[in-house]
Amino acid sequence: MERVPSPGASRFREASIAGTWLWLGLFALLPNLVLLLVAFLDRDTVGFFIPSLTLDNFRELFAPVFLGVLWDSIRLALCSTLVCLLAAYPFAYALAKAGPRLRPWLLLLVIIPFWTNSLIRTYALILMIGAQGLVNKCALGLGLIGAPLELMYTDFAVFAGMTYTFLPFMILPLYASIEKLDPGLADAAKDLGAGSLRTFWHSTLPLTLPGVVAGCILVFLPSLGSFYIPEILGGATNMLLGTFIKNQFLVAKNWPLGAASSSVLTLLLVLLAVLYRFTSQRAAGGYNAPLNARRDGE
């Protein structure tokens, strides 16, 4: 339908478009540009940074100290992302196939932890895995172990904390993409003689890959950046990326180095976003569209 814009329409239109651009420019683009700029500046103990350009901060990212922090962080974040994915996929699948009356309730039970303060959920985990926690009490009571397990302040505790905190962030995007699946596709694959595994590998998984990537973004990036999980559960054993960045700003007062090290997170976000776009185009174009076109033609 052709719209004939009247003067009133265009005024509101211009104002709202300008407002939205202004918002994105001032609240997103500008802060990030300033952050990028500071990453190229020299540190200053009094004024946080001084206006002289340098690449030293990025050079420091290749020093053993930072590489060690980065390696520990990425290892833990990858482990928790992988475990979240493996645990969440069958769960989201079962949820998407649940009866229509039960499904909203089951979904609500995932949405609640999704919105609950991650800090509080991390804290609640201490009550489970602490020396006096329920896990130890139950295991001791059942005679499974002789002495309480030292779970807290280990890499395992941090890994458990990330998995516990971010599992709902993996389930919800997976659920959204599985729910959209056309059940006819799986039936068609079965009719053509594919086993369950082949159907999953060649039809279900490629079509739900956008959900997989979205879930990985929502688990992997916060696992790297959320400093409170390792600080609460891991003690001071290993410093991870989030704490490193925070310390540069609040403790060491080396803002340029903090800004440069945060670029790792931004870079990963861009890479994952590109991967998301690639998989969703493939899922929409390579598989779905031809089938839909054929069905529409009949």
Binding site: W23, L24, A28, L95, P104, P113, A214, S226, F249
Partner: protein, 256 residues
């Protein structure tokens, strides 16, 4: 997977989610000072919270910021959703991708970038800086929520209103706003929750003169398990729970 093993698996995942929260909730009523044993039912830790003036001030500050930030974010996010749905203009796609990216961009990066911006502009850290940063945090979520709702309904309703002589702003106010009200309300509630819960950004953009609840809770939590922290966490969880339920009721009721 068999039907029973599937049910068992779903059940176990929910146990994983809710057992720690349940434990926290139960221990908040424990009269004993240490969580090693049950010392009988007591509300004394809740009473202790009410006597803690610093904590109450922080809670009030957080509430103020959350209400203002959620309202601003709803305005900005709602306008952005209308723009993206109704108008075509150069850069529309870039705007949409930008908003999507903002919903997944790491909070810590947002926190430090705002800190640098505020210091570079010599703005004193406090209520205003928190308000700006939290609005920036929440607005993309509102935009996505409202946009999802707008995708569902009929464009011609607005055209009809326009044909009958309503101005664009009037048509949006009287036709589009009531139709998208559930999503707008849900967006506001979720923004409020996000702002009340945010530690990662608040840590950077608030000053010593303006303490907020999540940062205060964080400094308490770092000292380990304490019964009063259990009580405070239980209250925060109950608050989130009721807001999420309210948001769900609002969006589900209207859909039927």
């Amino acid at each position: 997977m068999g039907a029973w093993s599937k049910r068992l698996y779903i059940f176990l995942v929910y146990c994983f989610f809710y057992l720690p929260l349940l434990a926290m909730f139960l221990y908040s009523f424990n009269a004993a000072k240490y969580t090693t044993a049950w010392g009988g039912f007591s509300l004394k830790w809740y009473a202790a919270l009410l006597r803690n003036n610093g904590l109450l001030d922080a809670a009030l500050n957080s509430f103020l910021v959350a209400v203002c930030a959620a309202s601003l974010a709803t305005l900005l996010g709602g306008l952005a959703a209308v723009c993206l749905k109704r108008y075509s203009f150069p850069g529309r796609r870039a705007l949409f991708i930008g908003i999507l990216l903002l919903t997944v961009s790491p909070d810590i990066v947002m926190g430090i970038s705002f800190l640098i911006l505020f210091i570079a502009c010599s703005v004193q850290l406090g209520f205003l800086t928190l308000l700006v940063a939290h609005t920036a945090l929440c607005a993309p979520f509102v935009a996505v929520t409202v946009l999802a709702r707008l995708e569902e309904f009929d464009e011609y309703l607005i055209e009809a209103a326009r044909d009958l002589g309503a101005s664009e702003a009037k048509a949006l106010l009287h036709v589009l706003l009531p139709l998208s009200a559930p999503a707008v309300a849900a967006g506001w509630l979720l923004s409020f929750t996000l702002s009340m819960d945010d530690v990662l950004i608040s840590t950077f953009v608030t000053g010593p003169s303006f303490e907020v609840l999540p940062v205060r809770i964080y400094s308490m939590v770092r000292l380990g398990v304490k019964p009063d922290v259990n009580a405070l966490s239980a209250i925060m969880f109950a608050l989130t729970l009721s807001l999420v339920l309210l948001a769900q009721v609002i969006t589900q009721l209207r859909r039927k």
